[in-house]
Symmetry: none
Subunit: 177 residues, 2 copies
């Protein structure tokens, strides 16, 4: 099960964390932050499992799917995105991705996506509990808040929630699982 994994995501910290976590779990993992190096790495490593973010510095990861499959037709691609939509989910799967997940997401869910597809030869840690809805909400808020440079009003607008409500959530919840 030393099938190499390739993480394609333009967010440096997310990418690094994911690669590190995968390695710590015993996978050979490698990261790429843009289309070109993703293709280079893919050609070099011929990874069987690929984690692909849809948004790569503005260019669509969707177009990368056929190219990756061309390099290795049986590779399993899990698409990950912070801006999930049903339309892109449908496209991604039609193009050959085996799963489409919305960030924030736990590693467990990603791994189980690779797992449940087939290949019973490696049983990785049985997936943990999913995040509670509260926790998920918190994670999501933090992400969007970060994206908006801490601007609460803008975040509330993006999240389509009331600013007052966001304020209250932020002040009340240091974090809980």
């Amino acid at each position: 099960m030393t099938e190499p994994m390739l993480v394609i995501d333009d967010d440096p910290s997310f990418n690094a964390i994911l690669v590190r976590t995968l390695e710590r779990r015993g996978f050979a993992a490698c990261g790429a932050r843009d289309v070109q190096s993703a293709l280079d790495k893919a050609r070099e490593l011929k990874p069987g499992n690929i984690i692909l973010d849809l948004n790569l510095n503005g260019s669509s990861g969707l177009a990368l799917i056929p190219k990756l499959l061309e390099i290795r037709p049986d590779c399993r691609i899990v698409v990950l995105t912070g801006y999930a939509s049903i339309a892109t989910a449908v496209d991604a799967v039609k193009l050959g991705a085996i799963q489409y997940l919305a960030k924030p997401i736990e590693i467990e869910a990603i791994l189980s996506a690779f797992d449940e597809d087939n290949d019973p030869d490696f049983d990785l840690p049985i997936s943990d509990e999913p995040l509670s809805v509260d926790r998920l909400e918190w994670e999501h808020i933090q992400r969007v808040l970060n994206e908006n440079d801490g601007n609460i009003s803008a975040t509330a607008r993006a999240l389509k929630m009331h600013r007052r409500t966001l304020q209250r959530k932020l002040s009340k919840r240091p974090v809980k699982s």
Copy 2:
């Protein structure tokens, strides 16, 4: 094309309207309101185009996809649902549906789905807005619910929320962006 169309939807009025509209546009259309009659009609007509609602009186239209494809492997199935979620969209496409659309939808969109069931467009999608917290919550619930084979109690436990609350959320939220 006089390829017969089959409309599978348990909502009588929606079904009837859709069939009528299709006929008025020159298609041979036929409706079915439950799993059994859908399969009967499919075997009888061997329709090339099928419009399938995911929720058929509680039973999942998802399971119908493989059976329909078995009857006619090259038929094109467009999945329609009032309770859209990314999880079920991914499943539907993996099972062989060519498109997944959320109600309410215009006939035009359905027809154009059949029309251009090839090459998804990589260029335009990727939205610029993150999901609203409500939407994210909905997606997450759908995923976990799916993971638990539709078991509401188990899902509520996994999500650390009260079963009653989950019930209410599931029944109350048709979808909102």
